[in-house]
């Protein structure tokens, strides 16, 4: 029998006491006065309990109200304006003469009564919880009085009732330094003015969560620069959650800079010269109107029941609302692509206040960034018109940031960072055929799992077989893998995990076929080698040539001979190393490649300069053996990391070697003729590591 929780015991006690009192009152045959007295006592106790409860509720309401003042809401911010400053500017109140862009939004609460099922499926999604008020229901991180330290700054975390507080360097002071071109972390912590700031808002809830504190001067929200990792249940400095230059500055993010556009509905970055920034939003998180557009008119006309039944029975689109499922593939995908894409505002519509709404052609207001060779040859008139605009904008942007494209795309124009699936998908032949949209595979309201939101009836190969049914008839002839094996799943070969972000590898949404030539050209591992980590690129090229008549590319000696899992983890760039380490931790590649040999090479990565690579290596190693628990933290000091690297490599050396000659291709595994690890070769590859600075913009 399990333990009874104190809360359950209290409830049982209360019920028992209530029954006892009732029985006593009924059975005691009390005389009038005693009965009245008992009634009075019970009434007083009840009223006192009620008042106590009310007081607690009022305290909570006041706390929430204070929080609401700090986070972006619908209303313009009311700020006392210095009369002298107002006279100088010439206006006493903010200019609100134009139409309020948030006027047409009604919020998801209004949608619920007519669409309870869709409301429910949305409510269970990570879209809803992307941005939340920092309440106990939303905050996942621990605030237990601990102090977090990184890059010369310390932060003290505390929970006060239902509120979360951080003592930190005054973010307004840091923002001022930034405005003056001074890196805030260049000023020692002792000299920074410190403030207790209430955490007012959260971002994320699925993989990681970060937090925001409010400016004391205007409506800006500053990032509390730490991430709470949901799976690991720990804090890490924000910059260590991404592939960023390891010696780079601490990140300093302001919510309205970019988050507001996609992590809220109808986000508006308003700025008044006197009141400062006043970011506003119709609703926090990605809610109903984020995908369906402003619903005020829809709600108004559908208060008429006759109209409602007419629309429901006719099964026709309601012109007062956008239903992405009824749009054509391109328009439907653009609803998602507004946020799940890399786009740049077109200057003209931005200046005139024209914003994208679901159902619009995204390209009217934004240039969808493409870096593929075929993008330049697009026959679409709008894209042809936009091409010079894009080139000009890119040229300007790359003056400040020469690696702008490299931070987002592989050399052939395939997106390499997470959250930008639209840019990948539109390069696919399936999309160009006019049929593929995000909703071909995903469903926001009929998904099996909020993770990925894949449509319930389009799991596994079914999404692809909608348009390619013939492959199912003789699947093994196409895949050359057993029908039920992971090698026969469409997406494993045509959508391999070549995108990186959120501390993991993610499927590419540019649907294409594995190609050794492309791997050689781009440095992006192909699907074959992402599963067969112990095989070389030459091995894959042989099979792709034999099975699919692909021309065999000319490969360098290392590419012909050395396992891709080893070659990329020793010589690759930071993303390639992180991706290899991630794949070494996944069950399918481990089954296909055997895994004991990986320990040695994962150990090698434990002292990688990039925290993200070390994180992946540590996680893969932790899954490698239950007998060898890994006392390793990827944020340990360099000396400790180096010690762990040495120890781990020594521990796994025997598993990587092959003195009994069981490994068919010793050269691929960097083993000498005696089955021992070829140290000189390992050293040579490690020295060839691609150490160019990587800064992936997830």
């Amino acid at each position: 029998m399990g333990q009874i929780s104190p809360l359950l015991a209290l409830q049982i006690g209360l019920v028992a006491a209530g029954v006892a009192v009732g029985a006593w009152v009924l059975g005691a045959r009390l005389r009038g006065k005693r009965r009245v007295m008992l009634g009075l006592v019970l009434a007083v106790v009840g009223i006192a309990a009620g008042f106590a409860h009310l007081a607690r509720q009022a305290g909570r309401a006041a706390s929430i109200e204070a929080l609401e003042q700090e986070i972006p809401g619908r209303a313009r911010r009311a700020v006392q304006v210095d009369p002298k400053q107002a006279a100088w500017i010439g206006r006493a109140t903010p200019d609100v003469s134009g139409p309020d862009p948030l006027a047409g939004y009604v919020s998801s609460d209004r949608c619920r009564s007519c669409h309870p099922g869709n409301y429910d499926s949305w409510h269970r999604s990570y879209h809803r919880t992307m941005t939340q008020r920092a309440t106990p229901a939303a905050v996942l991180g621990t605030f237990t009085g601990q102090t977090l330290e990184a890059k010369g700054r310390s932060y003290r975390l505390e929970r006060r009732g239902d509120e979360y507080w951080v003592e930190m360097a005054d973010p307004d002071w840091e923002a001022e330094l930034m405005a003056r071109g001074v890196r805030p972390d260049s000023v020692p912590d002792e000299r920074a003015p410190r403030r207790w700031k209430r955490v007012v808002m959260t971002t994320g809830s699925h993989h990681m969560q970060t937090y925001w504190v409010a400016s004391a001067r205007d409506g800006r929200l500053f990032n509390f620069p730490w991430l709470w990792l949901v799976e690991d249940q720990r804090w890490i400095p924000r910059e260590d959650g991404f592939i960023r230059p390891p010696d780079g500055a601490r990140t300093f993010d302001v919510w309205h800079d970019s988050c507001i556009e996609c992590h809220a509905v109808g986000g508006e970055k308003e700025q008044d010269p006197r009141t400062g920034w006043n970011p506003r939003a119709a609703e926090l998180g990605i809610a109903c109107e984020g995908c369906h557009g402003p619903a005020e008119e829809h709600v108004r006309v559908n208060q008429d029941p006759a109209r409602r039944y007419r629309m429901r029975l006719a099964d026709e689109p309601d012109p007062t609302i956008v239903n992405p499922a009824r749009l054509d593939a391109r328009d439907s995908s653009q609803v998602c692509g507004y946020c799940h894409g890399i786009n740049m505002w077109k200057p003209a519509p931005l200046a005139s206040g024209v914003r994208f709404h679901p159902g619009d052609d995204l390209r009217e207001t934004r240039v969808v960034m493409r870096a593929s060779a075929k993008a330049a040859k697009s026959t679409d008139s709008l894209e042809r018109h936009d091409w010079p605009v894009l080139m000009k904008q890119l040229e300007q942007a790359m003056v400040d940031n020469p690696t702008l494209l490299e931070e987002r795309f592989w050399p052939d124009g395939m997106v390499r960072v997470s959250g930008r699936e639209h840019n990948g998908m539109i390069e696919s032949a399936c999309f160009e055929g006019g049929k593929l949209s995000c909703l071909s595979c995903h469903s926001m309201h009929a998904s099996a799992d909020p993770d990925d939101q894949l449509a319930r009836d389009r799991q596994q190969d079914r999404a692809c077989l909608q348009c390619h049914p013939t492959f199912d008839q003789d699947l093994e002839a196409h895949t050359h893998h057993a029908r039920e094996s992971v090698g026969s799943r469409c997406q494993n070969c045509h959508m391999p995990h070549t995108v990186y972000g959120l501390l993991k590898s993610i499927r590419s949404h540019w649907i294409d076929s594995p190609s050794a030539a492309k791997t050689r050209e781009t440095g992006r591992a192909n699907a074959c080698n992402l599963c067969h980590l112990d095989k070389s690129l030459g091995w894959s090229a042989d099979r792709l040539t034999a099975w699919y008549d692909q021309p065999r590319p000319e490969l360098a000696r290392d590419e012909e001979e050395i396992a891709e899992g080893i070659r990329w983890s020793l010589s690759g760039d930071a993303q390639q190393r992180a991706m290899m380490a991630w794949h070494m931790g996944q069950p399918d590649p481990k089954r296909a490649s055997g895994d004991a040999w990986m320990g040695y090479f994962l150990g090698h990565l434990l002292d990688d300069p990039y925290p993200a690579v070390r994180y992946q290596a540590g996680h893969a190693l932790a899954r490698l053996s239950a007998e060898k628990p890994l006392a390793y933290d990827f944020l340990d000091a360099p000396a400790e990391r180096a010690r762990m690297r040495r120890e781990t490599m020594a521990y796994w050396r025997a598993a990587a070697e092959d003195p009994r000659g069981r490994v068919a291709d010793r050269r691929a595994r960097l083993l000498g003729a005696d089955g021992r690890l070829a140290e000189a070769e390992i050293e040579r590859l490690a020295k060839a590591r691609d150490d160019r600075t990587m800064d992936l913009r997830e």
Binding site: H115, P116, D120, P305, R308, Y309, R312
Partner: protein
């Protein structure tokens, strides 16, 4: 009861039986609904089906209440001195029909639902409600003091 009126007695007996059977049916429905709760069946409990849950609950509650109204009508019939035979017939028929249509409308409206809107079966509910209203108004008028009859 003052003097025997076979028609009145027949009407009272009919409503008494009808009322109790309506209570039986409604309690049976209520028991079935409780079973749906106990078995946690999504077809009844999912948020997407909250309209169905509301309508079937209304069917159960209205059925039970109207059954008791029938019982009350049957037992109070002899005392409704101001109720004419024509009024009695009208009240009896309206109450009978309304008591079937109102819960049936709620129940059928919940069988097929359109997200937040009930199925077309719910159209029976306002008809039933109007008939019940007519019936209780007639009965209330019939309950005036004898002297005014």
């Amino acid at each position: 009861m003052t003097g025997s009126d076979p028609t009145l007695e027949q009407t009272a007996a009919k409503h008494l039986a009808f009322g109790w059977w309506l209570v039986v049916a409604s309690i049976a429905l209520g028991t079935a609904l409780e079973a749906l709760h106990a078995l946690k069946l999504g077809v009844y409990l999912d948020v997407a089906n909250e309209t169905r849950r509301l309508l079937w609950t209304l069917a159960h509650a209205h059925g039970a209440l109207l059954g008791l109204v029938h019982v009350a009508f049957a037992t109070s019939l002899p005392k409704l001195a101001a109720l004419s035979p024509g009024g009695r017939t009208l009240a009896s028929r309206a109450l009978g029909a309304g008591s079937l249509l109102l819960p049936a409308g709620f129940f059928l409206g919940g069988v097929f639902v359109y997200e937040g809107d009930p199925g077309l079966g719910v159209l029976l509910a306002p008809v039933g409600a109007a008939l019940v209203l007519v019936a209780v108004v007639v009965i209330a008028l019939g309950a005036r003091r004898r002297g005014r009859a």
